[in-house]
Amino acid sequence: MRNILKLVVLSLLLITSLTGCVQTKSIEDLAIINTRGVDIIEDNKIETTLVIYKFDSQNQELSSIVSGEGRTIKGARKNANYKTSFKLTPGQIRLEMFGKETAKKGLLSYIDTQIRDARVSDTMYLALSETTAKDVIIQTQEGSSVHVGKYLYELIEQNVKDNIIPRVTLHDFLQTYYDNGHDPYLPVLSTATKSPTLSAIALFQDDKYVGQVPLSDALLINVFNKSIENATLEVQLPMQPFKKYLKSERLDENDEDTAHALMKVLRGNSKSKITNQQNMQFQTEITFNVTMLELSEEIDLKKPKAKEIFEEEVKKIFKKQYEQLFKNSQELNSDPFGYGTIYRINKHGGKLTDKEWREKFPDINVDFKIDFTLKGHGTTP
């Protein structure tokens, strides 16, 4: 019994003295990096712009911006540390933004530092800036009263949650990057309208930026990667086929030629398969189950015929959109859909190199089949 007591006392002593073994990090001395912008400046140097949080009672400003230069990301952070009395810690970075010029040269070398460091979270989002990352961060700070880091991060997170843009965390980017026959993509932020806005989806060849597609295509890409729900869809329809099914009898002279419909996706998913291995013929089936939220013209959707025409029209529009998006991505030779993966699975041996797919991708054909069902139309049909 006395032995055990001795042991307990000894261990307690050990435990209390153990706190001296590691460097203490009290939160008042830390500046927690929330957002990091990475740009290449002249001479291949890296400039990082950091949005930091400080938890100091003396300090009124909760967040502030510091920047540093260096040859490596960590070096730049060290350099930035000279300009602040707080210790910069990278464990809570929520958003990492890259300038477009930087992205053209390839992102992997910057992202590599994140993988190597076990303390960096896999859940942080990646994004591109239309100009430079610094630009977006500075503009946001000047343009709005909210915290920059919180604003930018939540801008992306909100849209990811609403399924407007695909989720691109550090892990997602790396997974698509390393999967042969599948190229990553990132959302693009621009400051054209003073406050930062999502403006496009950037497509990559491996880790290099090659071009972008409009934000409206984001959902179309998103459907390829997961089954989505709760996203909104907006389409523009020609009025011509619906002339017979308008609710009001009056035939106004200034009736619009087009109708706009806003729908909520209840369930959207895709299924792709290879139909002809020799001719590289693929088939993708996209299913959208939607409910109507808003319709600019009074089309009587209660009539089965009208509903049918409506569905057919939307299908046509989607097919066209998909074909356009696919053509664009073929021109850029970047495969955000992952057709390469399907090809690899069906290939004998199951191996495919990135280079091989680069050569093949521009020549593949995809037959898009859209399955569109209007499940409901709100309280008034």
Partner: protein, 371 residues
Amino acid sequence: MEINVKIKENLRIQAFYLFFIITSIQIGVGIMGAPMYIFTEAQQDSWISIIIAFGYLLLVLFVMFRILDQYENADILGIQVDIFGNWLGKILGTFYIIYFAAALLSVILTYIDVVQVFIFPEISSLIIGVLLISLIIYCIYGGLRVIVGVVFIFFFSAHWLLFLLYEPAIRMELDHFQPFFQASFPDLLKGARATSYSFAGFEILLLIYPFIQNKERAKFPTYFGAFWSFGLLLIGTVISIGYFSAKQLKELEWAVLSLFKIVSLPFVERFDYIVVAEWMMVALPNMILLMWAITYGIKRMYKVPQKKTLIITSFIYLILIALMSSHNIVIKLTELVSKIGFWIVYVYPFILLPIVLLKKRWQRKKESESG
């Protein structure tokens, strides 16, 4: 040296605890890194490798039981002396203990390495070493029944980690597994062999068997314990393959730990930190059981009191920890242990069994002749 061991009634343990003992000693630090090693060999068909390994594991356990059943109440150390004579038997027994000691060293060093990589890069290994060793000493002092109790409690306090795997599991890409059945049979076997380090440890059965009270019921908990570890390794590997892309996984040293990096809850942003700390609950039973095996083995063969060996080995371990804590050494040591372990654990019983059977038959014949 007595071949059969006499264990006092109050020191014996119920057979069903074998389940916890076998699972706890198998699942330790090995599972954290196993997916990478298996995947390098068998690619997307790694799960088949693990199933093959499990089948083989059951076979080894069956053979071990056959060996033990030939005796009244003996362990491997006694059996070896009985078969090979006093000298050779003791040398082989010493080998066994050295193997246990090396395994323990690799477990401690690996865990320290993980803590340094994931949480405290600047902490000295010696300090974590002192902490771990003092915990081990404390448990061993309590005797086998306390050890089994610790194993039992830690089993439950560690398994909730499984729920956290939900997050990476829903992000799995199923096409990482396709096309199926691409690995050749030799590759599958190599993959199965790569599991040897994570599955090893169950050879403690050969040492702990005399302590079991109701031996007739020992088989089921043991097989089920092996099945449990098999299930955990399978889950870990399958999720890793689905979650990481092939090129990533091939270079990811602690794949299973990295899975937890995506877990983020409203009250704990970075759950991976907690997981690494919590992993001590997984690794500690492992260390305790191995340390018990070392000290008990030495006591059994050389009649040195267990407490004395415990203190001496602990000191040696502390010195070794201070000297050997560099990542490359840890990896090399682990490879060495898994190589030696493969022969000792997975092959040796198959050599031992026919000899034991022959000897027993010869003995019976002699008895019937003389009788």
